[in-house]
Symmetry: C2
Subunit: 147 residues, 2 copies
């Protein structure tokens, strides 16, 4: 009759998402004082090269105000530069500076290591099931990957 939180998909996903995030956060927070939106903009920029704020938001699944604030923060660190597009002066191209690239480079390995550490707690078969489940759910929720 009841709903049993422990077997309720949205609850389980949210709880796992938070647990994993909480385990990753110290890496970018303790090393550089970054928050998650800033970390994600950093990755997105390294991921898809110079791009507009809108593209970064789409790629990192973040609201435009989050991106706007994160970009301001990263700019004040001089980790990225903005260049107004002369073809369309509403938008600006964002690009990592060498300092930004270095910061990103210093975070990739430890972040990967923590992810690997979590995945290593799963059996090979469980990891296959996880990859399958994530891909299936992403399709079910109409999330397009890459571009």
């Amino acid at each position: 009759m009841g709903l049993t939180l422990d077997s309720f998909l949205p609850y389980r996903l949210n709880r796992l998402s938070e647990a994993v995030s909480n385990e990753m956060r110290p890496v970018y927070r303790d090393a550089h004082g970054l928050n998650r939106p800033e970390w994600r903009v950093l990755v997105a920029l390294a991921d898809i090269g110079p791009a507009t704020a809108k593209a970064i938001g789409a790629h990192s699944a973040q609201h435009k105000t989050k991106v706007s604030r994160a970009v301001q923060a990263l700019e004040s660190r001089r980790w990225l530069t903005r260049t107004v597009d002369p073809k369309d002066r509403r938008s600006e191209s964002l690009a990592l500076t060498p300092a930004g690239q270095r910061a990103y480079g210093s975070l990739v390995a430890p972040m990967r290591a923590r992810e690997d550490d979590i995945l290593a707690r799963l059996s090979q078969a469980d990891r296959r099931a996880l990859e399958r489940a994530l891909a299936a759910l992403e399709t079910a929720m109409a999330i397009e990957r890459d571009h």
Copy 2:
């Protein structure tokens, strides 16, 4: 070399968790103006019967201040009552009122229906993989289910 957000576990989990939550939220928000912490306290109380705020927080994986605020909100709706434990006057037993039970009862079916709708977009094999993946990750993240 890079990190590729689209294949990064924490990012994928968070994105899916938000997508699923966004699809569920209208049910409890539009019908009763509840927010997620309130909805969860409601479920938790229906789930484990009269309990302390601490137990509700543990069962629903929510910070004690979130629980405290949600309990105040539900109390002001007269959906739950507090009874100070005479054995330990620091804690109080929370219990749903008939009105609270009715509200909960009116939400279970539509919430279940939305969950089923999402799961119905997956193949049988994908659903099995999902269940396996969730259980494995919960173990990996040291999340104990039930009690």
